[in-house]
């Protein structure tokens, strides 16, 4: 079975910016929030949340640099 055969995953992959990193963030977001709801504030959950936001910010910056280089 392919990952894209799962209904929600398929929907996310087809709707977004055709970028697997962003798609992964959309899919991981509710899982991470559910973990925080269940476990509460701890070093691990804080680390996971920081990693999530950092991945988004750095990936956005990385894409920006790649795009700018492509235009030069």
């Amino acid at each position: 079975m392919n990952l894209t055969d799962i209904p929600v995953v398929k929907q996310v992959f087809e709707s977004g910016a055709d970028d697997r990193v962003y798609d992964s963030l959309v899919l991981a977001g509710p899982i991470l929030i559910a973990v925080i709801l269940l476990v509460g504030r701890s070093l691990i959950t804080l680390g996971l949340a920081l990693s999530y936001v950092a991945l988004f910010v750095f990936y956005l910056a990385y894409k920006g640099i790649i795009d700018a280089d492509g235009d030069v």
């Binding site: 709707s15 970028d19 977001g29 929030i33 925080i36 920006g64 700018a68």
Partner: protein, 518 residues
């Protein structure tokens, strides 16, 4: 039954079914929090629009695609119906508790004054309309004592309303064709991300969901409890402004939370097509796109001006306090969010700020952010079109009659015909906006106890309702606002969300059919 009524009825039915789905989904929240008394209320609330919606969509299933007139009437009546049926959870949960139905079985709690306000259908309707239009003015005295189910329903309604109920319905139904495009445009949106309208609305939701997770996690990292982060992340990004605490964001009294909310509110005030390009790495859109560039210029200038007013005017003693509250309140107002940090419990309430500071915040609410985002107000592009158009006309006098001049807006060189059309559209919306603002002020001055509120308080409150902002100078409340004032605000919120024209088109159609005039 005429063809028009069938088309309108069919699409209204679909919108109502989508609304019912939102109510059924919300049952999970009631179960998770052990609020079993809210489950029957939510199910009944969902069954009513679902039944009516199903009836309409089946009965008129083969109706023609909507044209421009249908689109406007569907948008106006759809938002009204969503407001009306969306009030059912408030009303039915409040009456379940009021009548103390099956307290042992459903764990029904005792009634609170806050929840009791929703036993009045007008208050429930006000809350629902305020939620779906993303306004944030509230009929609650203390949001923190509301059942979690209703806290969620308020948040969820703003989150859905921020993007739009028609955008939601189009995304769910995935109905391709010109009919969906007509409806999409009737809901105060115009730009497309993809050639296909269905792909466009699905991508809008994808962006919105991604940003929602980022917003929730940022707030949680900044120290907000997770339930608060979920609710405020959703309402902040949707630029709605409903809170789950008594004093909005001031309850947390946290510098970190205040500053984390600034980019969240700003994200909500930038158009979705621009977000899409930025996510793909084209960061130059942050300054290349006229509206996005002006979001930052306008927010910076307004915040600086407000800082100067509240610091040099003596409202705040330190430059940092003036910067913290001035910036937050201007961004909150201009993005049409309505979160409040300026309250008496921690500093100085907005209603007690100097008149010129209040009017600066009011100006922010009137203009709003970018068209194609989640904000209300006249929108930056119209304000800029008006400004540039006026400058163009005035400068025209200094050129010879033979000179060929073109107005340039957002990199587009407009022909004479295009200039006239764009300027006319912006002028009409702005004129109508001020007309209904004045009407709202007039009604409020008529119904409010004389001497209780200043004129700037009243203008502030009406601009807040019509701009779908939600900041309050203290007038809005279940007891403080008379029934006629609530009805006026319902109208202000409704027209504000749809940019007036669709509502006027619908009313004209209703009055003509009703024989009021021909």
């Amino acid at each position: 039954m005429s063809g028009s009524a069938a088309t309108i009825g069919r699409d209204l039915g679909r919108i109502l079914q989508a609304l019912a789905g939102l109510m059924f989904v919300s049952v999970v929240v009631s179960l998770a929090w052990g609020e079993f008394y809210a489950v029957p209320a939510l199910i009944v609330s969902g069954l009513i629009p679902f039944g009516i919606g199903r009836l309409l969509s089946v009965r008129f299933g083969d109706a023609a695609d909507p044209g421009k007139l249908h689109g406007m009437v569907i948008a106006a009546s759809g938002w009204l119906c969503v407001g009306v049926f969306g009030s059912l959870p408030f009303l039915l949960v409040a009456w379940t508790v009021e009548l103390s139905l099956a307290p042992a079985l459903l764990r029904t709690p005792s009634q609170t004054a806050t929840l009791a306000a929703f036993t009045d259908p007008l208050n429930a309707l006000f809350e629902s309309m305020s939620g779906f239009t993303g306004t944030g003015l509230t009929m609650t005295d203390d949001e923190s004592v509301l059942p979690h189910t209703l806290q969620w329903w308020r948040t969820f309604s703003e989150w859905i309303g921020g993007v739009g109920v028609i955008v939601l319905t189009t995304a769910i139904l995935a109905r391709p064709g010109s009919g969906s495009l007509t409806l999409y445009e009737s809901e105060a949106r115009s730009e497309k991300i993809h050639p296909s309208i269905v792909s466009t609305v699905q991508t809008i939701w994808w962006i919105f969901i991604l940003f929602t997770f980022i917003a929730i996690l940022l707030l949680w990292i900044a120290g907000m409890p997770i339930w608060g982060a979920i609710n405020h992340g959703m309402t902040g990004l949707a630029t709605g402004g409903f809170s789950i605490t008594d004093n909005s964001i001031a309850t947390y009294d946290s510098v970190a939370i205040d500053f984390v909310l600034l980019p969240i509110m700003l994200l909500g005030s930038i158009a979705f097509p621009v977000h899409y390009l930025i996510l793909q790495g084209d960061l130059r859109n942050l300054y290349r796109d006229l509206q996005t560039r002006w979001v930052f210029i306008y927010m910076s200038l307004g915040s600086a001006l407000l800082w100067a007013f509240v610091y040099f005017g003596g409202t705040y003693e330190t430059p940092f306090a003036a910067f913290r509250y001035g910036t937050f309140q201007f961004v909150s107002a201009a993005t049409c969010t309505g979160f409040q940090t300026a309250v008496d419990a921690t500093n100085v309430a907005l209603g007690r700020w100097p008149a010129h500071a209040q009017l600066t915040v009011t100006a922010g609410m009137i203009v709003g952010g970018a068209a194609g985002s989640t904000v209300g107000g006249i929108k930056l592009i119209r304000a800029l079109t008006l400004f540039k158009g006026i400058r163009f006309r005035v400068a025209d006098v200094f050129y010879p009659d033979t000179a060929v001049r073109r107005l340039t807006i957002n990199g587009r060189r407009l022909s004479e015909e295009e200039t006239r059309r764009e300027f006319e559209e912006a002028a009409i919306i702005a004129f109508l906006w001020f007309l209904f603002l004045v009407a709202g002020v007039f009604v409020l001055l008529l119904v409010l106890p004389s001497g209780e509120y200043t004129l700037q308080n009243v203008v502030f409150e009406v601009a807040s309702a019509q701009g779908n902002v939600g900041l309050s100078a203290g007038i809005t409340g279940p007891e403080s606002l008379p029934a006629l004032g609530k009805v006026m605000f319902l109208f202000n919120m409704w027209i504000g969300r749809l940019e007036i024209i669709p509502v006027l088109v619908m009313l004209r159609l209703v009055f003509r059919r009703g024989g009021v005039y021909t």
